[in-house]
């Protein structure tokens, strides 16, 4: 790492999270200024966007080569009062809490109290959205049956394709103007708003060009002076025109990134996707005309990486802060995979990007490699050498499965091959799809409700259907039938809520800037939030597969097959949280078959639950014609979901975390990693938009070349079974225990959580304990 990169990296690592009031203030001023005026909603949003970028503070960090920060400085993080309004108390909590605090100064508090809160109270999307949800939705939400991402973040979750590398904003404007010639009146509103935001980005870059020239004037170092002049030139060229050098491409992407994450606060920020594919031509031509070297390339890419790391996700509030115990913003760089023509996409740039990831060792952006049948073992080996250092990146995905998932959903083979995974593990067609994540779905909670005939002891309300008194069930099929009926009931409530939310964002908070970037919003003259993209999907994420499978197996085995106890006795023990039933609990934990051991009988329960969940959601259409889909990932929501469920039939105490991803219950797998992978492969991953499997290995497992070869075979074997994703957490238990005891000595310890990595010290104690507990595969 050269000294420029190392200084910028230090700056990024040392920067404290600060809550910046700038954006909230500009947005408020703007909306006050248009009160009483007749402006279409899309145009309001476009003008608001323009106002922010015309007035926001410019920031040029010492020595940097790519410019632009969302706030006035690195890690100065804005709020989005039009979506959710932080109260003074929220600000206090953000400032005071121990983990991932955002400092809030008195000035900010004052402005919030005097300007922001008075203007926005009662007008935010969050208030509007929650007030429109039906009582049955509210009940289910409070009980922890599901969560809703869009109650405080906009529907984002999309990934850029290659559009910006082919067209500048001027080209995009020409495209808009052409489309305007045949537009209806409402289409005009959309298109004109898009045009404004395209012009805004050119204006914003021009502001930077001027600022850089000013800095160049007073710069004493000749080297830096010429850098600043070159950067000013680049800001005049992009985003107005299409980029022709790597530096131009990087700066263009970064302006676009800032645009998307400033326009609103889309879930999973924004993602550049297949960077090795996009950047290879610039690298090759730069080498050819001698304007670029490999080390210069690494330096430039490092500057982009540091930019990502300067941008934590916007501060959350309420349940969302609990359900997602992280402030990484889930930009997931895809490396490898297949080209549009179906050939192997791994190239020189793929290896360079891995070098950058290894050298910088930053939390953000996150990274992954896509492996297809064509990918060489050398490439996987290179990635495993980084994974081995225990920082949880890159994670590993099965390109062939992703393509099957996307084509099953109706995407063309080319759009599917141009896709990949984003966020934690979510499959998408890059540049052409809006795939909104709508919230987690608590599968074990549905079983709890089924066993209590629809009554929720947590909120003390009858919130579900009265399926049947469970003592009447005479076999597991009857229980599953009741469970299916209960699950369908809640899935309907969730999807009906999402239908309403879809309409709210489509009509109240369009995103004209994001719409410029995703095809075919311009052609369709329709906003991204109004489902203008070529493909539109809305996902519900199933949580707790391991726990619920073990619960079904336990009931099947102990109550119906072996008749060790009857349903009534089981329910009594669960209600008592096993107090007085310790021996029973011991039997449920240690003497009952468990998911994760390649036992077909047990694993069939996972498949059954999955199929019930799948049929209740997949293929249903929203009013704006988005398809509802499922995937299987928890982020950290399995901890929150566990906290709202009483004791369970697998021997789990009330309130304890659920299993995570599609992994077995923590510690339930006794037959090693191959058995876990086999169990996890039995339900049909191709019917999902992503599944998440964590495997923990001790570092010694990666010690020899021979072992690494075996690990590659393990991955290939798993992917052979049409599975989606696997990630390795390489860390030993002693290290984690020591870190928990003496956090001060382990400030740099990064662990893989669930599709992303985070600082171990920043995790809550529950999550820390859980990471420690996840089965650690020793050197067998």
């Amino acid at each position: 790492m050269n000294s420029r990169v190392s200084k910028l990296r230090e700056q990024s690592l040392n920067a404290q999270n600060v809550l910046s009031v700038e954006r909230a203030r500009l947005v408020t001023k703007f909306y006050k200024s248009i009160e009483g005026k007749q402006i279409s909603i899309p145009m309001q949003r476009a003008l608001c966007f323009d106002y922010i970028f015309a007035n926001k503070t410019l920031c040029v960090n010492f020595g940097e080569l790519i410019v632009g920060e969302r706030g006035p400085a690195p890690k100065a993080t804005p709020t989005y009062p039009e979506i959710c309004l932080h109260s003074l108390q929220d600000l206090q909590i953000l400032n005071d809490r121990e983990k991932v605090f955002f400092s809030v100064d008195d000035e900010t508090r004052k402005i919030y109290e005097q300007e922001i809160i008075p203007f926005w109270k009662g007008k935010t999307m969050r208030e509007n959205l929650l007030s429109k949800m039906k009582p049955e939705w509210q009940n289910a939400y409070e009980a922890g049956v599901f969560t809703e991402f869009q109650e405080q973040r906009a529907p984002g979750h999309t990934v850029l394709g290659d559009k910006i590398y082919k067209s500048g904003m001027k080209d995009i404007i020409s495209q808009i103007l052409e489309r305007l010639s045949t537009a209806t009146e409402s289409e005009r509103d959309e298109l004109e708003a898009m045009q404004v935001t395209a012009e805004t980005m050119i204006m914003f870059a021009e502001r930077y060009a001027k600022k850089l020239e000013e800095l160049a004037m007073s710069e004493k170092s000749n080297v830096r002076k010429s850098e600043l002049i070159e950067m000013a030139r680049i800001c005049r060229k992009v985003p107005a025109n299409k980029p022709e050098t790597l530096h131009e491409a990087l700066q263009y992407y970064w302006f676009v990134h800032l645009g998307v994450i400033t326009e609103l606060n889309p879930w999973d920020s924004f993602n550049p996707g297949r960077l090795d594919q996009h950047f290879l031509p610039y690298y090759q031509s730069g080498l050819q005309n001698r304007t670029l070297t490999k080390s210069k390339t690494i330096e430039l890419l490092s500057c982009l990486w540091i930019k990502f790391n300067n941008h934590p996700s916007p501060p959350k509030m309420g349940v969302t802060a609990q359900e997602s115990n992280t402030y990484t913003d889930f930009a997931l760089i895809n490396i490898g995979g297949l080209k549009a023509d179906g050939s192997d996409a791994v190239n020189e740039m793929s290896y360079i990007i891995l070098d950058v990831i290894e050298e910088l060792r930053l939390l953000q952006p996150s990274s992954m490699i896509q492996i297809s049948k064509q990918t060489s073992n050398d490439f996987i080996k290179r990635a495993l050498k980084i994974i081995k250092t225990g920082f949880g990146q890159p994670s590993i995905f099965n390109t062939d499965a992703i393509i099957k998932e996307l084509t099953r959903q109706g995407k063309t083979i080319v759009d599917a091959r141009n896709g990949g995974a984003s966020g934690c593990v979510e499959s998408g067609a890059f540049g052409t799809e809006s795939y909104v994540l709508s919230g987690y779905f608590n599968l074990p909670k549905i079983l709890e409700l089924t066993l209590l005939n629809g009554f929720d002891p947590h909120t003390n309300k009858q919130i579900g259907k009265k399926t049947s008194d469970p003592v009447n069930f005479s076999n597991i099929l009857e229980l599953k039938k009741a469970f299916a009926s209960q699950l369908n009931y809640f899935a309907d409530i969730k999807l009906k809520g999402n239908d309403v939310i879809e309409n709210l964002f489509a009509t109240k908070l369009p995103v004209p800037f994001l719409s410029l970037l995703i095809d075919d919003c311009i052609t369709n003259a329709k906003d991204y939030n109004a489902k203008g993209a070529r493909y539109n999907s809305v996902y519900v994420q199933g949580v707790g597969l391991g726990t619920i499978t073990d619960c079904f197996t336990s009931i099947e085995y102990n109550v119906f097959d072996e008749k060790k106890l009857n349903m009534k006795e089981l329910l009594t023990a669960l209600k008592a949280n096993f107090v007085g039933f310790e021996e029973l609990q011991n039997n449920l934990i240690y003497h009952t078959p468990k998911y994760g051991n390649d036992d077909d009988c047990t694993d069939q329960n996972a498949t059954d639950v999955f199929n019930i969940f799948y049929s209740s959601i997949d293929g249903k259409m929203s009013p704006l014609n988005a398809a509802y889909r499922i995937n299987m990932l928890p982020t950290t929501c399995h901890i929150y979901f566990g906290s709202v469920i009483g004791a369970t039939a697998d021997g789990r105490y009330a309130g304890k975390p659920l299993s995570e991803g599609i992994s077995p219950v923590q510690g339930a797998d006794k037959k090693g990693p191959t058995a876990v992978l086999k169990s996890a492969s039995k339900f049909d991953h191709i019917k999902t938009g992503g599944t998440l499997l964590n495997q923990k290995f001790t570092p010694d497992f990666f010690a020899t070349e021979k072992n690494i070869e075996k690990l590659i075979a393990l991955i290939r074997g798993y992917f052979h079974l049409d599975t989606h994703h696997i990630q390795f957490n390489v860390i030993d238990k002693q290290t984690l225990l020591a870190a928990q005891k003496n956090p001060e000595d382990y400030q740099n310890l990064i662990v893989r959580i669930a599709g992303y990595s985070d600082y171990f010290n920043d995790l809550g104690e529950d999550l820390q304990n859980e990471i420690i507990k996840r089965t650690e595969h020793k050197d067998f």
Binding site: K671, K710, G717
Partner: protein, 265 residues
């Protein structure tokens, strides 16, 4: 033909018992009585009842558990075949270990034959203490022998393991002459097998029988203490510490003698 036998474990993702990803099936019963034995529960041919403990919070529960399980070939292969996809990806397969797998000759022969019929790469991990005709019988179905050599001095061998090493060394000579695929494994037991004298004698024996395959050194780990406790047998090696230095020294002797050597399998 279906054969029955007694096994005491099936371990998947075994990565030290031959090439690739493997499943190792542990057959019960051993003719040797090595004082450093890692698997003391494997010595007896019979199933043994022991008490085990589980813990939930503060509460401890005991339950009866059997060491050893009567199984037939079909049951074993059903479990082994579950990981076929991983053997295919890694050029792995199945390993029969023990105890001493040759202690259950008909069962082992049937397991090996059936494994070959199912297209698996077969390995046996053996101490070599078995009648010649048995070794001849299994030879056609065994792709690789992991063959333990411990002590060349026969008196010491008898003292530490309870049996003479003549058969063991003879069988190795035979297998080498038959061009069997062999990896010699030497457990490095401090001051017993890792002595300069013993190592030099092993080297000259191997040269004498024209062995030119690989050598695998297995450093001593005192990890079996809990097993000894469970079985209520005294662990004579309890106080012996792992000697890291020794495996390097021994390895270099083999390298100098022209052998390809690895440490730790």
């Amino acid at each position: 033909m279906m054969r029955n036998g007694i096994i005491f474990d099936i371990k998947k993702f075994a990565v030290h018992d031959g090439p690739g990803i493997r499943t190792t099936v542990f057959l019960k019963g051993c003719p040797l009585n090595c004082i450093w034995c890692h698997n003391p529960e494997s010595r007896s041919k019979e199933c043994i009842k022991i008490l085990k403990e589980t813990k939930v919070g503060e509460n401890t529960f005991t339950f009866e558990s059997m060491i050893g399980q009567k199984v037939n070939t079909e049951e074993v292969l059903l479990e082994v075949m579950k990981d076929k996809i991983f053997y295919d990806e890694s050029d792995g397969g199945v390993t029969f270990s023990g105890g001493e797998p040759l202690m259950q000759p008909s069962f082992l022969e049937d397991l090996l034959k059936t494994s070959k019929e199912k297209g698996l790469h077969t390995t046996i991990d053996t101490c070599g203490f078995a009648p010649r005709d048995l070794v001849e019988r299994i030879l056609p179905f065994t792709d690789l022998f992991l063959y333990d050599i411990k002590l060349i001095d026969n008196e010491l061998h008898k003292e530490k393991m309870g049996v003479s090493n003549e058969t063991i060394l003879e069988n190795l000579r035979f297998l080498v002459s038959q061009k069997a695929n062999i990896i010699i494994r030497i457990p490095l037991i401090p001051d017993i097998t890792d002595t300069e004298e013993n190592i030099l004698r092993i080297i000259s024996f191997l040269i004498g029988c024209k062995y030119n395959g690989k050598i695998d050194l297995l450093p001593f780990h005192n990890t079996a203490e809990q097993k000894y406790k469970n079985l209520q047998i005294e662990n004579q090696m309890k106080t012996i510490k792992k000697d890291v230095d020794s495996s390097e020294k021994v390895a270099s002797r083999f390298t100098k003698a022209g052998f390809s050597v690895s440490v730790g399998g």
